[in-house]
Structures are given as structure tokens and as C-alpha cells.
């Protein structure tokens, strides 16, 4: 339905997009005892590190091969070798995840070959999984880095299974997209466990970035899915993939182990939650617990209460494709008009966003569109706050990074409960804005020469 266009500016101003390699590192952060390593200059890592720390308010392990000018020209074999040895000796990781960057991709370092050489030279590394993913900065975006990395982890670390072997019917694999928060993963875990299933999340950022306090200082990730558990994922009965970005990983899993998958492009909203719960009920062979029947009722009631406020709002949203599709679809179903949408990278779901046009662009594009089309609610990550302030419209923070508010890791949009919370938050924001900024004055309804101002009905 939506036409996807690309902004043709030479200068990206106020970028919405973040780079592919740190999307890849983010995926590695959901693995237990992991040390993500960016093959590039020091800054490539330091910027990503700062970003994660500001978002999660947690210590984040992330290392660099610290490429100097000379090393970049001559090739980074020695830096990769030294980095791996240093990490291995100092932090004893259970896995080292390596992503390339723009610098090393421009040079053309063959890291897979480096790793083979390093393994030959240092037999002590034999048992340490080293997973490499190519993620140049000058292509694609954050979400793509996550997508590629998860798929690669499956290809390298999941043990192949004989298709005829019996499966563990109570086990499911969950492949969450990077638009889900630790809070979302916890909610999904609860739902699946309530149906008697045992889920393995890959990656499991809820395990590592939910803010728990470890007993001892650990230089690697302090939780997440273990390499041992990943290896056995082929024994599960089903794979549940969330977000269109996870199709590649789900297919990789199926190709390697024969585990069938169900892909849920959205989990925010009444209908997608119904589909999900019904699906889980089918997979598990268990009836829907009364808890979810009650939650469904609560969501329905929240929708009734909130539609007065959300209905008819002209919405500007800037987010990565899956998050954009998820939240904007829910709001469309609440009667909002999707008026301006900007995203970071191409994706098949963009065509299904229910509005005229989605722009692959930056926050400047979003701000301009929101201004000319008179949007009255702006949703994006924290960088969007400047635009919302200039436009003087309410601003809701969604996605990554969210550095100027607390609780980013626990914000929740999935299932009946998550949808309900999101709807209340948005409606309350709109109510507050009306109270603070939209009080009528004697001139509010004065008719001008232009005649009556009519809000056109939303296009279908």
C-alpha cells in the first residue's frame, strides 16, 4: 500500500539511522559470556559503547581491534589476532562475536581467513566460538546488522539435526527482532511458559540487559542465551520469529535443522496478539489460560477508552522498519492517521505500512513532513525530541536509542498487556498536551477568509 521513496539529499541531517556493525554487536550482547568485537578504529566501538550505555544504563562489554592508519593500509590480521588473544586471556569469554566496519570493509580484510589462521596458530582457542559477520557501515542500517548476525550465529553454532529425529515438543525457539526490548522478551517468556512451553530466545537481551545486579564483576555479558543452549536449538518443535527482519534467521534455522517456523511480523495490537496467542495455543496443544482472556478484555476496554484521544490524530513516526510497521499499524487500527513516516533501510514490510508514502531518510525529513502536514504527535527515538520541541507537538519515545529517559529496557509493546500500556501512555500524552498547550482562546474558532477548516478523512 505504501510507496517507499528515498530521500535524495546529499547531506543526511539529524540522522535517524545508526550503523549496521553496532546492530550486529547488539545481537551478540544477547549471548551469555559474550564479548562483541568490532573490527575497525577505536571510535567505531567507543561510539557504539556510549550509545548502549546511555540507552540501557548498564555496563556494556564491547571491544575494538583498534585499527591504526598503518594497520588499515596493511591489513588487520595482526590486530584481529591480538584482539582475540587479549580478550581470551583477560576476560575468558564463552564466545567472541566479530563484526566488520566501514574501514575494514573498504580495505577488504578477509576475516574468515584470519580466524582460520589464528586458530591454527593458537590451539588454545580451539574451543572458543569465534563468529564473524560482515557488516560494512556504508551499507544498510542497525536492523540489518542484527538480522545478519542472528542468522550467522545460527549457521555457525546450531548443531545440525537429522530431520527424522524426534523433537522436544515442549521446546520452542524464539528469534526476536531488535525492536523488542528486554521487557518485551520477559513478557513473551511469561506467555510461552504459561502455555507449558520452554522457550530459547536467540538473542536473549533480557537475560543480559535487564539491569540485574551480578554478584561479581564480569567483563563479558552477564546473562543471555548460552552457546550450549544455542547448539541444541535444532531439537525444538517450532521456531517463532518476531519481526520481518527475522525471516532470514528463521529460514537459516529451518535449513540447518528442519525446525518449522512461524513468523509474526507484529505483536502490538489486538488482532496480532490474538493471532499470536491462538498460535501458541495450537503449538502447545493447551487452551488459552484465563489470565489471557482477562488481559484481552482489559486491552479491549483500553482501546475503547483511548480511541477518543488517539482517533484522528495525525501521526509522524520515525523508526526502523519493523518497529515502524508494528506501532504505526496498531495506531492505524486505533483510528490515527499516519501522516508522515520515515525509516532507515529497505524492508518488505514497508509496503504494508498503511499510509501513502514511507521515506527512507532522516529526522530532518520527518520534521519537514510533520510540519507541512500538520502532524500532532511525533514518535521516534530520543534524537527526535529536538524536532518535536521545534514543532511544539507531543513526543513519544520509541526504539533505540532512548538516552534521555529511564526504563528504556522495560518499555513494552507486545501482547495484550504491552499494547494496553502503550495505548495508555500515548493517550495520556495527548491529554496532557491538550491541557498544557491547546486551551481555547477567544480567537480559537474565529472564521478566517479561508473559510472553515476541515480535517480531511483519512485515506484508506
Amino acid at each position: 500500500m505504501a510507496i517507499v521513496t528515498s530521500s535524495n539529499k546529499a547531506c543526511s541531517s539529524n540522522p535517524l539511522k545508526m550503523s549496521q556493525p553496532i546492530g550486529g554487536s547488539f545481537a551478540f550482547l544477547g549471548l551469555r559470556g559474550a564479548m562483541p568485537l568490532l573490527h575497525g578504529s577505536q571510535g567505531c566501538t567507543s561510539f557504539g559503547l556510549t550509545l548502549f550505555v546511555r540507552h540501557f544504563k548498564e555496563a556494556v562489554p564491547l571491544q575494538t581491534t583498534a585499527m591504526s592508519e598503518v594497520a588499515t593500509v596493511l591489513g588487520g590480521y595482526e590486530n584481529v589476532e591480538q584482539a582475540i588473544l587479549n580478550i581470551y586471556n583477560r576476560t575468558k569469554p564463552e564466545i567472541i562475536g566479530i563484526n566488520s566496519t566501514g574501514v575494514t570493509e573498504t580495505k577488504g580484510d578477509d576475516v574468515e581467513a584470519f580466524i582460520r589462521l589464528i586458530r591454527q596458530k593458537h590451539p588454545q582457542l580451539e574451543k572458543v566460538p569465534l563468529v564473524y559477520v560482515s557488516t560494512p557501515d556504508f551499507k544498510d542500517a542497525f536492523q540489518d546488522g542484527w538480522e545478519r548476525t542472528v542468522a550467522r550465529v545460527i549457521e555457525v553454532l546450531v548443531d545440525p539435526v537429522d530431520a527424522a529425529a524426534p523433537r522436544d515438543l515442549s521446546r520452542v525457539n524464539v528469534l526476536p527482532g531488535c525492536h523488542l526490548t528486554p521487557g518485551d522478551l520477559d513478557e513473551l517468556r511469561t506467555i510461552l511458559e504459561d502455555f507449558g512451553l520452554r522457550p530459547s530466545f536467540l538473542p536473549d537481551i533480557a537475560g543480559s540487559l535487564d539491569g540485574h545486579i551480578p554478584d561479581e564483576f564480569t567483563p563479558t555479558t552477564i546473562g543471555g542465551i548460552g552457546v550450549d543452549e544455542i547448539a541444541t536449538m535444532g531439537q525444538a518443535a517450532w521456531t517463532i520469529a518476531i519481526g520481518a527482519q527475522m525471516r532470514r534467521a528463521a529460514e537459516a534455522m529451518q535449513a540447518r535443522t528442519g525446525v518449522p517456523f512461524r513468523l509474526f511480523e507484529r505483536l502490538c495490537g489486538l488482532v496480532p496478539s490474538d493471532v499470536f496467542i491462538a498460535s501458541v495455543s495450537e503449538i502447545s496443544g493447551k487452551p488459552v489460560p484465563p489470565k489471557y482472556r482477562r488481559q484481552r478484555g482489559q486491552l479491549a476496554d483500553a482501546m475503547l477508552d483511548a480511541h477518543f484521544h488517539i482517533g484522528g490524530r495525525k501521526l509522524a513516526i520515525g523508526a526502523e522498519p519493523d518497529l515502524l510497521f508494528d506501532i504505526s499499524s496498531m495506531l492505524y487500527e486505533m483510528g490515527a492517521q499516519l501522516t508522515a513516516a520515515v525509516t532507515t533501510t529497505a524492508s518488505p514490510v514497508l509496503e504494508r505500512v498503511r499510509m501513502g508514502e514511507v521515506v527512507i531518510g532522516d529526522l530532518e525529513d520527518l520534521e519537514e513532513l510533520a510540519k507541512t502536514r500538520e502532524c500532532d504527535l511525533l514518535i521516534s527515538h530520543s534524537h527526535g525530541r529536538q524536532a518535536a520541541a521545534r514543532l511544539n507537538i507531543p513526543f513519544y519515545r520509541a526504539g533505540f536509542p532512548m538516552f534521555d529517559r529511564l526504563g528504556a529496557g522495560h518499555q513494552m509493546t507486545v501482547g495484550y498487556r504491552g499494547t494496553r500500556e502503550l495505548i495508555f501512555d500515548l493517550a495520556n500524552l495527548i491529554i496532557t498536551d491538550r491541557e498544557d498547550n491547546r486551551q481555547p482562546t477567544p480567537d480559537t474558532w474565529r472564521i478566517t477568509d479561508n473559510g472553515l477548516h476541515v480535517v480531511p478523512p483519512r485515506p484508506n
Binding site: 543526511s12 540522522p15 550503523s19 557501515d137 532522516d362 534524537h383
Partner: protein, 555 residues
């Protein structure tokens, strides 16, 4: 030698740097920062440093030429307040794509410059070079030159791609760009004998505004602040200042010393952190201006202001002294400003158990030695693991550091305060030091620490669930055959019921089993001589209802 490596060599030849002067020519070539360790480094890169040093110029567009990582991942992460334009808060990048990497990104860069000028009319554009375009040979100097000529606006190349070195080197390369393309290119409308430059002051959280009123009062004009709340034109005119104060010696010493060389502007290294340092800096500014021709009465006025402000600040700090007595501080600032903060903390009666000197110069270390005397606990390099251990063992009551190490402290349930770049409070000048004390007090005395340090009830390693449940059985047995001491022991340190000294369970035991009827009797038996009014009433009620409670206990 390429022009960039020539510039870098020039930076390393810094004559005014004490450390550099003591090095051999070969050692000097290597520069002052250690080569980053692959797999063991955390700091920023040269691009990061250059951007940090220049970003606080507020009416300038900062355009990053490179793939999305360099700017998309990093923008909007330092709060440097502006009294005018907010253009600096916008982010501009060429967001290089694969096709630019293959065919070169110069055209895209030129178009980007044009777009920015058309849309935002900046006073100037700073163009930052990053690794990828540097590798493929994009000549940003040439593009900037052409753009300056064609667009009629200064377009300044900042040649500091990440891989040439550390953040610190990047700061200095940014300084070189200013020296080469900006400083001295315009003339101020007028000058006064009271004109100074501030170099390496970034106005984070607007903290310089805590000091500026004092300068205003003295009639001292900040001709240019490099770079906090700075304007392009002011920097361009900064060569007409009479004197300069170098606030952060690590970042822009090359600018200060080359301005001295070229324009004869004397400078001193000072700080506005802490009472003594603030006063000394004000005096030094006055002294230098007088030396360069300002009337001598400036010093008298300065002394008056200093005396007044010091008295005010000291009076305010007095309040905190008893509250800080015996409290220990671990200071991990990255070293730069440790010495000025150390003095301030000591003034308030805090004991410093350690201060990191990882990034400090020899001079900084001498200063620390001077203020801290023989107990200077200087720590060269503290690994997170050691830091964690120190805090876990409660060797310090509070840690002051930058954001990167905050979780080490917080996760050990130790109070922590941000005194580095991401802080949200301003700590400069006399006002700022009082603010710092307020914040330390707030952190130290927050009631959360007691709650957080206590383990969850089920986490006591000495008591297993089995032992607990056996203890419960024991208590039930005791109910039948009372033995107050055992009961007390079994109940452990259970909290009292109404007043602090009286345990509800033990009281009940005493009333029910031993037939105590008077408050005094109970108080004595429960070893709680001071029974408060509320508890007394409760005991009376309990005694009155004794038959019922006996029955309940039996059930």
C-alpha cells in the same frame, strides 16, 4: 610526508608541553598517547576528539564526511550550553554509501555543503574527515577550498580521521584546524584592555555561566571562548585578546602556545573548579591583563570580589562539614581535573582514599602531591575489577567519576556522582563547588543505600530454607513450653512492632505464656526498658485480650 602526518608531527613537537620537552626526538615522534591495544581499549578516536573540541561552536554547522557510523552513532551526546544559535545541536553527515566508497565521496560532500548553506545559513561549516573517505583518498581540503570560494562562506576542513590516533590527538588536530583556517581571519569591532580568551573550556551544562558574572562584574571581556558557547566570528577575532586562560591543558595546549608564539598572547593554565583555584585563576587573569596594560586597580577590585565570594562559599560549605566527617571518597576523573577537585573535597572535610592519575600530566601529579601531602593515593590505572572490589569492600563511601565507570559503583550499591563530561550539574566557580557538595550530600545520605545493601531475606547463605522451616517448628514447640531466650534466638533480629525496642512476638510470648500483666514486667522480660506510648497501649490491649490469644496460640 603527507600534510596530515606533518600536522601530527607538529603537534608532537609542542614546546610548551613539559613532558614533550623532556623527551628524546625519537620518543617525541611517537606522540604522547600509547598506541591503543586491540581487544583492550575503550577510548574514543581522533575524529571523536576533534568533534568534541569543536562542536561547542554554536553557530557553525558540523558536517561529518563518512559512513553513518561516525555521526549516526555518536551525535547529541554532550551537552554544551549555548546562549544563542542552536545550529550546533543539529547533526549533518554525508552518510556515505557503497557507491561513494567505490567512486569517491567528494561530489557528495560538496553537494552536502551547498545544501547546508542553502537551508541553514551557518556562519561557517566545519567538515570532519573520517577513516573511510581518508582511505579512499577523498581530498576534503580541496573540496572545502572550492566550497569556500563558491559559496562565499568559510568551510573549514578538520583532518582527523579516527585511525590516526586517540581522542586526545583529535583534540589537538582540531586546534590545528582553528590555527590554520580560523584564528586571525577577522578583526573585532573594538578591543579593550580587558579582553581575554578561554581555551579548552566547553561550557558543559552551561557551567561557565557560573563564573561569567564575576568576569562581567570585573569588566573582563571574554573575547572568545574556545570552544564553549563559542561563535565563529569570535574565534576568528581571538588573536586580538590580551591574555588567555587555558582551562583544559590536555586538549588544546597547542592552540594556547601557538597563539602566544604568533600573536604574543600570554597564557596560563588555570581551573575554575574549587574555591582556591577559582580565586587563583581570577587573580592570574587580572595580573596578566595588568601586565599587558590594563589599569592596576583591576587587581584591587579582583581581590574584593574574591574575598566576598570565598566568604560566601565557605559559609555554605560549613554546613556540610559535620555531615562529611569521616566519609571517604574515591576519585576517578580520568585525571584531568583531579587536583582542583581534590582541594575542594578536602576543604569540605572529605577524606580521599584514592585518585586516578591515568591521564594526568607530570604537572597535574605534582599538584595532587601538593594538595594531598604525603598521603597522595595516586592510582595509575584502576581496572574495573579492582574498582569493584574496592567498593564492594567499602573502602570508599562514594565514588566520583565519569559515566563509563558508574555501573561499577552503582552495582556494588555505592553512592556515585558524575563529575565528567555527561554530568547534568554545573560545578564551576564558587557557586559550583557548593552545588557539588550538595550533590555529594544527596548521594551519601540517600536512604536507598541501606535497603539495597541488605540481601533479600532468602539470600542469607548461612540460613537454608530447611533450617528456617525447622526453626519455625522449634518456635511452635516453644509456644507450648516457653523459653524466652530460645524464642528470641529463633526469631533472630525480627523487627519490633510499634517502637524500635519491642518485639511483638516476644511480647506475646511473655503475655501468653508467662502471664505477665504489667507493662513494666513485660519491658523487663523483653529487655526493652524504653517502651513507647503506642507500644504500651498495645500491650494493655494484649493483656486484656489474653484468653483469646491463648486460644489462638493453641490452635
Amino acid at each position: 610526508m603527507t600534510s596530515l602526518s606533518a600536522t601530527i608531527q607538529g603537534v608532537f613537537n609542542e614546546a610548551n608541553c613539559v613532558e614533550n620537552a623532556n623527551k628524546s626526538a625519537a620518543a617525541r615522534k611517537k606522540g604522547c598517547t600509547k598506541q591503543a591495544q586491540p581487544g583492550g581499549a575503550v577510548g574514543g578516536c581522533a575524529f571523536d576528539g576533534a568533534k568534541i573540541a569543536l562542536q561547542p561552536f554554536t553557530d557553525v554547522a558540523h558536517l561529518v564526511h563518512g559512513p553513518i557510523a561516525c555521526e549516526g552513532n555518536s551525535w547529541d551526546n554532550r551537552g554544551s550550553a549555548s546562549s544563542g544559535s542552536d545550529l550546533w545541536r543539529r547533526s549533518f553527515t554525508t552518510d556515505m554509501q557503497e557507491i561513494d566508497v567505490v567512486f569517491g565521496g567528494e561530489k557528495r560532500l560538496y553537494k552536502a555543503i551547498r545544501e547546508i548553506i542553502r537551508k541553514y545559513h551557518p556562519s561557517a561549516i566545519f567538515v570532519y574527515q573520517t577513516c573511510v573517505p581518508a582511505m579512499i583518498g577523498d581530498d576534503i581540503d580541496a573540496v572545502c577550498k572550492i566550497a569556500t570560494a563558491k559559496c562565499g562562506r568559510p568551510v573549514i576542513p578538520v583532518n582527523a580521521p579516527g585511525f590516526v590516533g586517540s581522542k586526545n590527538l583529535g583534540n589537538k588536530l582540531a586546534g590545528e584546524a582553528l590555527l590554520r583556517y580560523v584564528i586571525g581571519t577577522q578583526e573585532p569591532d573594538y578591543t579593550t584592555p580587558y579582553d581575554i580568551n578561554l581555551i579548552g573550556e566547553y561550557n558543559l551544562s552551561g557551567e561557565f555561566w557560573q563564573v561569567k558574572p564575576l568576569l562581567d562584574e570585573l569588566g573582563i571581556r571574554v573575547l572568545s571562548c574556545i570552544s564553549g558557547d563559542g561563535r565563529y566570528r569570535d574565534v576568528a577575532c581571538s588573536h586580538r585578546a590580551r591574555a588567555a586562560m587555558m582551562v583544559c591543558s590536555k586538549s588544546l595546549i597547542n592552540v594556547a602556545s601557538k597563539m602566544k608564539e604568533r600573536y604574543g598572547i600570554p597564557f596560563f593554565e588555570g581551573s575554575f573548579y574549587g574555591i582556591q583555584d577559582s580565586s587563583e585563576s581570577l587573580r592570574e587573569i587580572a595580573r596578566m591583563l595588568i601586565e599587558r596594560g590594563a589599569p592596576a586597580e583591576l587587581m584591587e577590585r579582583t581581590e574584593l570580589t574574591v574575598a566576598r565570594e570565598e566568604a560566601k562559599a565557605r559559609a555554605a560549605i560549613e554546613f556540610f562539614k559535620p555531615r562529611f566527617a569521616g566519609k571517604k571518597v574515591l576519585l576517578v576523573t580520568g585525571g584531568v581535573k583531579s587536583w582542583s577537585v581534590v582541594a575542594a573535597l578536602q576543604e569540605a572535610g572529605l577524606e580521599i582514599v584514592g585518585t586516578s592519575v591515568k591521564k594526568s600530566t607530570m604537572k597535574d601529579k605534582e599538584r595532587i602531591q601538593k594538595v594531598m601531602g604525603h598521603d597522595a593515593h595516586m592510582i595509575e590505572d584502576l581496572t574495573p575489577r579492582e574498582m569493584y572490589k574496592m567498593l564492594k569492600e567499602a573502602k570508599a563511601d562514594i565514588m566520583l567519576s565519569g559515566g563509563k565507570s558508574q555501573f561499577v559503583a552503582l552495582k556494588t550499591a555505592t553512592p556515585w556522582l558524575d563529575i565528567n563530561q555527561e554530568r547534568c550539574h554545573a560545578y564551576m566557580g564558587y557557586l559550583g563547588i557548593v552545588k557539588l557538595m550538595e550533590e555529594i550530600d544527596k548521594a551519601l545520605y540517600n536512604p536507598i543505600w541501606d535497603q539495597l545493601r541488605k540481601p533479600a531475606p532468602w539470600d542469607d547463605a548461612d540460613v537454608s530454607w530447611k533450617a528456617k522451616s525447622l526453626a519455625q517448628v522449634e518456635v511452635a514447640t516453644v509456644d507450648v513450653e516457653p523459653n524466652l531466650e530460645r524464642v528470641e534466638k529463633a526469631r533472630g533480629a525480627k523487627r519490633s512492632f510499634r517502637c524500635q525496642n519491642l518485639d511483638l512476638g516476644v511480647t506475646k510470648e511473655s503475655v501468653v505464656a508467662l502471664g505477665s500483666t504489667t507493662v513494666d514486667d513485660i519491658a523487663q522480660r523483653t529487655k526493652a526498658p524504653d517502651v513507647c506510648g503506642a507500644s504500651e497501649r498495645a500491650i494493655v490491649d494484649m493483656t486484656a485480650a489474653q484468653p483469646t490469644s491463648t486460644q489462638q496460640a493453641a490452635e
